[in-house]
C-alpha cells in the first residue's frame, strides 16, 4: 500500500519537484548545487502532501499559490535537515553522503540557511495569516532544536518535556502544513481546527515512530548506524521509557552507560540491548498509537471526502512502517 494514493495530491506532488529545484536556483552555481543536493534526492514530501490534502476541504484553490506554499514548507523542513546533519555529524542522508560530508560543514550550514531564506521569501508573499503562522512554526522549530540540545545526555529528561520538544521540532511543521492548506483553500474554521489537530497529533506519532526506529531498525533500512541518537545523547522515547519504567538494576546500568563521557561501541551496544530488553519499545509504540488514534479522530471530524480517507490512510501507513 502506498502512503498516498489521492489522485489530485499525487499529481501536485509530481509538479512539486521542479518547483523546488527552481526555487533554489542561485546566481552562484556552487550554491545552487549544494542547496539542491537534498531536494534532488527526492524524499517523501510528507508535508506538501498534507498541504494538498488539507486544501481539499475548502471551496477554492489557486494551484500556483498552493504549490508555492507546499514548496516553501517543504523547504523549511529541508533547511532543518542541513543544519541537523551538521549538528549530529550524520554521515549520510537518504542513502547518499550527507551534504557536509561532501562539501564541508561551513558550506552545508550556509546552504541550509539559504534554503531557509528562500522558503521564508516564498511564505512572506502568501496571504495572511499564513506568513504569521509560518513565523511561529519557524520559531518553534528553532526553540525545539535548542531545547533538544540542552537535554542532550540528560538521563533525567522527563517524558512530558520530551513531548514538549517534539511538539515544537516536529509537530509544528505538520500542523503548519495542514493549517496553511486549509486556510489557502478558504476552508471553514471547524475544518481548519480539525486539520490543525490532525497535523499536530500526526507529528507526535511520527516522532515517536522515528525514535523507535532508531533503536530497532538495522543500518541498511535507517541509512545511518542504529543507536546513533544514543551516541549523540539524543534520548528518544524508548530510551526515556526504559529509564522511567525498566527494571531497577537495568535502569541503573543504563544510566551508568549513558553517563560516560565518551562511550565506545561496546557501551552503546549494551545500552541498546538494555533498552530493547526493557519493554520500552512496546511503551513507545503505544505512545505512537495513541497519537495516531488522536490524529484519526481529528480527521473524522472533517466532511467525508476522498481526502479525509487519504489522511487516515497516511496516518496508518506512517505508524505501521515503524513496526
Amino acid at each position: 500500500m502506498s502512503w498516498v494514493t489521492h489522485e489530485p495530491c499525487v499529481r501536485r506532488l509530481e509538479r512539486l519537484g521542479p518547483l523546488l529545484e527552481e526555487t533554489l536556483a542561485s546566481e552562484d552555481e556552487h550554491l545552487s548545487e549544494v542547496a539542491r543536493h537534498l531536494v534532488a534526492q527526492g524524499g517523501k514530501r510528507l508535508r506538501p502532501a498534507l498541504v494538498f490534502l488539507s486544501a481539499e476541504f475548502g471551496p477554492r484553490v489557486d494551484e500556483d499559490v498552493l504549490l508555492r506554499a507546499a514548496a516553501a514548507i517543504e523547504l523549511l523542513h529541508v533547511a532543518t535537515l542541513y543544519h541537523d546533519d551538521v549538528m549530529d555529524r550524520a554521515e549520510s542522508r537518504r542513502g547518499a553522503p550527507s551534504t557536509h560530508a561532501r562539501w564541508g560543514q561551513a558550506a552545508a550550514v550556509t546552504a541550509g540557511t539559504y534554503v531557509f531564506a528562500r522558503a521564508m521569501r516564498l511564505l512572506g508573499g502568501l496571504d495572511r495569516p499564513v506568513p504569521a503562522w509560518a513565523g511561529q512554526a519557524v520559531l518553534a522549530l528553532a526553540l525545539g532544536q535548542l531545547q533538544e540540545t540542552e537535554n542532550a545526555y540528560n538521563a533525567g529528561h522527563q517524558v512530558a518535556r520530551y513531548l514538549e520538544v517534539s511538539v515544537r521540532k516536529t509537530a509544528s511543521l505538520f500542523e503548519l502544513s495542514c493549517r496553511a492548506g486549509a486556510a489557502l483553500s478558504g476552508a471553514d474554521e471547524d475544518a481548519c481546527e480539525a486539520l490543525g489537530l490532525y497535523g499536530r497529533a500526526l507529528g507526535l506519532a511520527f516522532q515517536a515512530v522515528d525514535d523507535v526506529l532508531d533503536v530497532t531498525a538495522d543500518a541498511a533500512l535507517l541509512g545511518k548506524r542504529p543507536g546513533s541518537d544514543l551516541r549523540e545523547g539524543v534520548y528518544g522515547l524508548p530510551t526515556l521509557m526504559a529509564l522511567a519504567h525498566g527494571a531497577e538494576a537495568e535502569q541503573e546500568r543504563l544510566r551508568a552507560l549513558l553517563a560516560l563521557d565518551s562511550p565506545d561501541d561496546g557501551d552503546l551496544a549494551e545500552a541498546r540491548e538494555l533498552i530493547l530488553g526493557s519493554g520500552a519499545v512496546a511503551h513507545a509504540t503505544a505512545v505512537a498509537d495513541h497519537y495516531a488514534d488522536e490524529a484519526v479522530s481529528a480527521a473524522q471530524r472533517l466532511p467525508d471526502r476522498p481526502a479525509r480517507r487519504a489522511l487516515v490512510q497516511l496516518c496508518h501507513h506512517l505508524v505501521l512502517t515503524g513496526r
Binding site: V86, A106, T113, A132, A142
Partner: protein, 736 residues
C-alpha cells in the same frame, strides 16, 4: 491597616549583615532612614567564600569608603582560566582609571562594611536570629526574632543562600538542578601567583570518563598565600564536594610547581550556592530580597559579592522611595532585570542550559572564532575585563554624530527591543554582544546605519525600530554561523561548539524574521539573508589565499560591509526614500563596514585586538585570510608556511607582519574607500544625517590609521597584550 500596630522599630529592617545587607543598610542610613540591621552572628565573622571582588564590586566598595579600611587586601588585575586539556587564557582588566579587583578575606570585608553601615547611622543588632516574617493581609510588616515582634514598613531579606525568609515568602523553591555547593580553605607557602585570579574548570573524575559541572580556584590573598576551593554547580549523583576538593588540592600540589609546598592554614568551610535569580521572585509586598537570598551568583564563576552589593544598593533606593506605600515594590524587579538580564538563568531549563554552556566553553576554549570569543567573555569574564563591551574597544558613536540628528534615544530603544526579544528564549544570549551594555548600544553598529538612512525619508515609521533590531540579529546570526569550522575538530566527540553556533543562529534568524512580520518586511530580510549566503559560499570557495584584490571584492559582499550596506539600503527604502537614495546609502554603509573590518583585521596583525577582543591567534585559525594578511603574504611568502602549521605562534605572525609594508597599504586603502563612499554622499541632500555619515566614514578610516600608528610605536611588532603562557594541563579530581 485595620488594627493598631505597635510602634515600628525602624523604617527598614535589614535581615543579614553580609555584603548585601550591610550595603543596603549603609545606603538607607545615608538617605536619612532609620535602619535596623540584624544578624544572627557577631562581627567579625568568617564566611565561606573565595574572597575575590571584581571591578564591578570595587566601584561599589569605593563609593562606601570601604577600600581605605582594607589596606591588606590583595590587588588582582585579571583572571586566568584553565579548562581541562587546554592552554590557559587570561582576561585582563582593561587599562583605565578604574581600580584593581581585590582578594580580601570575608572576615575583614564584611566587618568593614558593617562598621560603615553603623557609622552612617544604621542600628546594628548582633546575635539576633530572625525566625520568620510577619505578614498581614499579604503584606510583610516586620519579623519575629527572639520571641519578639519587630515592625517596619519594609523588610530587606539579605539572609544568604539558605534564606529562610525568601522561602517563607514563597519566593524560592529548590531549583530543578538542586543547589550548588562550594568549599574553600586558606593555604600558605604558595609561590608565583602574582596578581591574577586562577580559575580551573570543569573538574572530571579520575578516569576522566565523567565530566562534572564544577570548577576550582586559587585566588591569591597575599604574596605567598591563597584561598583555594571548588564549586559544584548542581547536585550530581555520587559526586561529593569534599572528595572533589581533596583531589583538586592534590592535583595542584603535584601538577603545578607553584603549589608544591602548599600548607593548609585553618579549616575548610563550605556553603550552598544559588543561581536562580529571577526578577519575578525578588520582591513581595513589603519585602525585598538582596544578594544570595535572591539567588544572585554567577553559575560559571561563582561570583556573587558584586551582585550582592549592587542589589543591596538598589534595594535601599527602592525601599527609600516606596516607604509610604511599600505594597508595590515592582520597580526593584525592573531595576534588577535591566541590570542583570542574561547573568542568571531561571526556570526549568536553567540547569540544562548551564550544562550546555559549559560544554560549549570546554569544546571551544582554544577557538578564536567570533561566537566562541563572545560566549567565553559572556560566561567567564567579569564586567570591566579587557575586550568586547569594555571601554576603549568599541567606539562611542555619539561624538561623531551631528547633534541635530538625534538618534540616541532610538538606538537605546533598539537595544532594549533586542534584549526583550531574546530574553524569553535564552537570557544568556542577551549577554553575548553585551546587548544591554551602554557602550554597545551607542557604538557604530548596523542599527545606527538603519536609523541614519531612515533620516532620508519618513523616519517616524514605527517599523524602523523593529527593522533595526532585526538587522542586528541577522548580523549576529551570521557571526554565529561563521563560527562553524569546515571540518569537525574531533570526529569522535559531540561538537558542542558547532551545535551552539547553529542553534543560536537559527533562533536569532527566526526572531529577526518575527520582528519583520508586522511591517511585511519578511521578504526583504529574507533577501538579505540569501545574498549573505551567496557571498559566503563564494568566500568559502575562494579558498584561503585569493589575491588581495579578490579578497577585497569578497569582503565588500560579506561580513560587516554587507550588513551595513543592507542596513543603509533597507533603512532608506522602508522610510520611503527613492531607489537612488537607497543605493547611495547602501554604498555608504558598505564603505563604513569595510573600513571597520579593515581596522579590526589590521589591529590583530599589529599585536592589538579587534572589536571582539580577539588577537592574532584568530588569524591563525580562520579559514578566511584577511586582506591585510594577504598583503603581508605577498611580501613574505614564509607566512604561508606559518599559517599552514598547527602549532604556530601568534607572536611570530605579528612580528613578521610588522616587517612588511602591509600596514601603510591598508591605511591607504581604507582612506580611499572612505573617500569614495563620502563622494557618494554628495548626491544626497545635505543635512545632519549626511554630515553624521561623513563623520563616521572619516572616523572609520582614521581608526585604521590609528591602529597602524600604534602598531608602529611598539616597533618590532611585539604584542600589546601579554600572551598567555602555553602549558597544557588536565584537571582531574581523583575518584569520587
Amino acid at each position: 491597616m485595620s488594627h493598631p500596630s505597635p510602634e515600628a522599630i525602624a523604617d527598614v529592617i535589614v535581615v543579614g549583615a553580609g555584603p548585601a545587607g550591610a550595603c543596603a543598610a549603609y545606603h538607607l542610613a545615608r538617605r536619612g532612614r532609620r535602619v535596623a540591621l540584624l544578624d544572627r552572628t557577631a562581627f567579625p565573622r568568617d564566611k565561606s567564600c573565595g574572597d575575590a571582588v571584581t571591578r564591578a564590586g570595587i566601584a561599589l566598595l569605593a563609593e562606601m569608603g570601604a577600600l581605605e579600611l582594607l589596606p591588606s587586601a590583595w590587588p588582582v588585575r585579571g583572571l586566568r582560566v584553565t579548562m581541562r586539556g587546554h592552554a590557559p587564557r587570561e582576561f585582563r582588566d582593561a587599562a583605565g582609571p578604574e581600580r584593581d579587583g581585590l582578594v580580601v578575606p570575608r572576615a575583614l570585608l564584611d566587618d568593614a562594611l558593617v562598621r560603615l553601615a553603623v557609622a552612617a547611622g544604621a542600628q546594628l543588632r548582633e546575635r539576633v536570629r530572625v525566625r520568620r516574617l510577619v505578614q498581614e493581609d499579604g503584606v510583610v510588616r516586620g519579623v519575629e526574632a527572639g520571641g519578639r515582634l519587630l515592625r517596619a514598613p519594609v523588610v530587606i531579606a539579605a539572609d544568604g543562600a539558605a534564606s529562610a525568609l525568601s522561602r517563607q515568602a514563597g519566593l524560592t523553591a529548590t531549583p530543578p538542578g538542586g543547589l550548588g555547593y562550594a568549599l574553600r580553605a586558606y593555604v600558605e607557602d604558595v609561590h608565583g601567583l602574582d596578581h591574577l585570579l586562577e580559575f580551573m574548570a570543569p573538574l572530571t573524575d579520575a578516569g576522566a570518563r565523567h565530566w562534572l559541572p564544577s570548577y576550582g580556584w586559587a585566588f591569591p590573598t597575599g604574596p605567598t598565600s591563597a584561598n583555594v576551593g571548588v564549586g559544584l554547580v548542581e547536585r550530581v549523583p555520587n559526586a561529593r564536594s569534599d572528595a572533589l576538593f581533596a583531589a583538586f588540592l592534590e592535583e595542584l600540589r603535584t601538577g603545578d610547581p607553584r603549589f608544591r609546598g602548599m600548607r593548609p592554614a585553618g579549616a575548610r568551610r563550605g556553603a550552598p550556592l544559588r543561581f536562580d535569580f529571577s526578577p519575578h521572585r525578588c520582591w513581595a509586598p513589603g519585602l525585598l530580597l538582596a544578594g544570595d537570598a535572591a539567588g544572585m551568583i554567577s553559575p560559571f564563576t561563582g561570583e556573587g559579592i558584586s551582585f550582592a552589593l549592587e542589589s543591596g544598593k538598589l534595594a535601599a533606593e527602592v525601599a527609600d522611595e516606596r516607604l509610604a506605600d511599600p505594597r508595590d515594590l515592582s520597580r526593584y524587579a525592573r531595576l534588577l532585570s535591566g541590570r542583570f538580564q542574561g547573568y542568571f538563568e531561571t526556570g526549568q531549563h536553567a540547569a540544562e542550559r548551564h550544562r550546555l554552556v559549559w560544554h560549549v566553553l570546554d569544546d571551544t576554549f582554544d577557538s578564536e572564532r567570533p561566537i566562541y570569543a563572545l560566549v567565553r567573555r559572556a560566561a567567564l569574564a567579569p564586567e570591566g575585563m579587557a575586550g568586547f563591551g569594555s571601554s576603549g574597544v568599541l567606539t562611542d558613536a555619539r561624538p561623531l554624530l551631528d547633534p541635530a540628528v538625534g538618534v540616541g534615544a532610538e538606538l537605546v530603544e533598539v537595544g532594549e527591543l533586542l534584549a526583550e526579544t531574546m530574553r524569553p528564549d535564552w537570557p544568556f544570549l542577551t549577554r553575548l554582544p553585551a546587548l544591554s551594555s551602554g557602550s554597545f548600544q551607542l557604538s557604530v553598529r548596523p542599527a545606527l546605519m538603519v536609523l541614519l538612512a531612515a533620516r532620508f525619508g519618513d523616519w517616524r515609521r514605527p517599523e524602523l525600530t523593529s527593522l533595526a533590531a532585526a538587522v542586528e540579529l541577522a548580523g549576529l546570526a551570521g557571526l554565529a554561523q561563521s563560527g562553524v569550522p569546515d571540518r569537525p575538530s574531533d570526529e569522535g566527540r559531540p561538537n558542542w561548539g558547532t551545535m551552539f553556533a547553529v542553534l543560536v543562529s537559527d533562533v536569532m534568524l527566526a526572531r529577526a524574521l518575527g520582528l519583520c512580520a508586522d511591517g511585511d518586511l519578511v521578504p526583504e530580510l529574507a533577501r538579505i539573508v540569501e545574498e549573505a549566503c551567496t557571498s559566503r559560499m563564494r568566500e568559502l570557495r575562494a579558498g584561503r589565499f585569493p589575491s588581495p584584490g579578490d579578497r577585497l571584492a569578497l569582503m565588500g559582499r560579506t561580513g560587516p560591509a554587507a550588513l551595513f550596506a543592507a542596513a543603509g539600503e533597507l533603512g532608506a527604502r522602508v522610510s520611503g526614500a527613492d531607489e537612488a537614495v537607497a543605493a547611495a546609502l547602501g554604498d555608504a554603509g558598505r564603505g563604513l563596514g569595510l573600513c571597520l573590518q579593515l581596522a579590526d583585521d589590521v589591529a590583530r596583525l599589529l599585536g592589538g585586538t579587534d572589536r571582539l577582543g580577539r588577537d592574532a591567534r584568530a588569524d591563525l585559525e580562520e579559514e578566511i585570510t584577511s586582506y591585510p594578511l594577504l598583503l603581508a603574504l605577498r611580501e613574505d611568502p614564509e607566512l604561508a608556511r606559518l599559517l599552514a602549521r598547527a602549532d604556530s605562534s601568534a607572536d611570530e605572525l605579528v612580528r613578521r607582519c610588522a616587517r612588511t609594508g602591509m600596514a601603510a597599504e591598508v591605511a591607504e586603502r581604507a582612506r580611499r574607500l572612505a573617500d569614495e563612499a563620502s563622494a557618494g554622499l554628495a548626491t544626497l541632500a545635505d543635512g545632519p544625517a549626511t554630515r553624521s555619515l561623513a563623520a563616521l566614514l572619516t572616523h572609520a578610516a582614521s581608526r585604521v590609521e590609528r591602529e597602524v600608528l600604534m602598531g608602529a610605536r611598539t616597533g618590532d611588532g611585539s604584542p600589546r597584550v601579554p600572551p598567555a603562557r602555553v602549558t597544557t594541563r588536565t584537571f582531574s579530581a581523583g575518584k569520587l
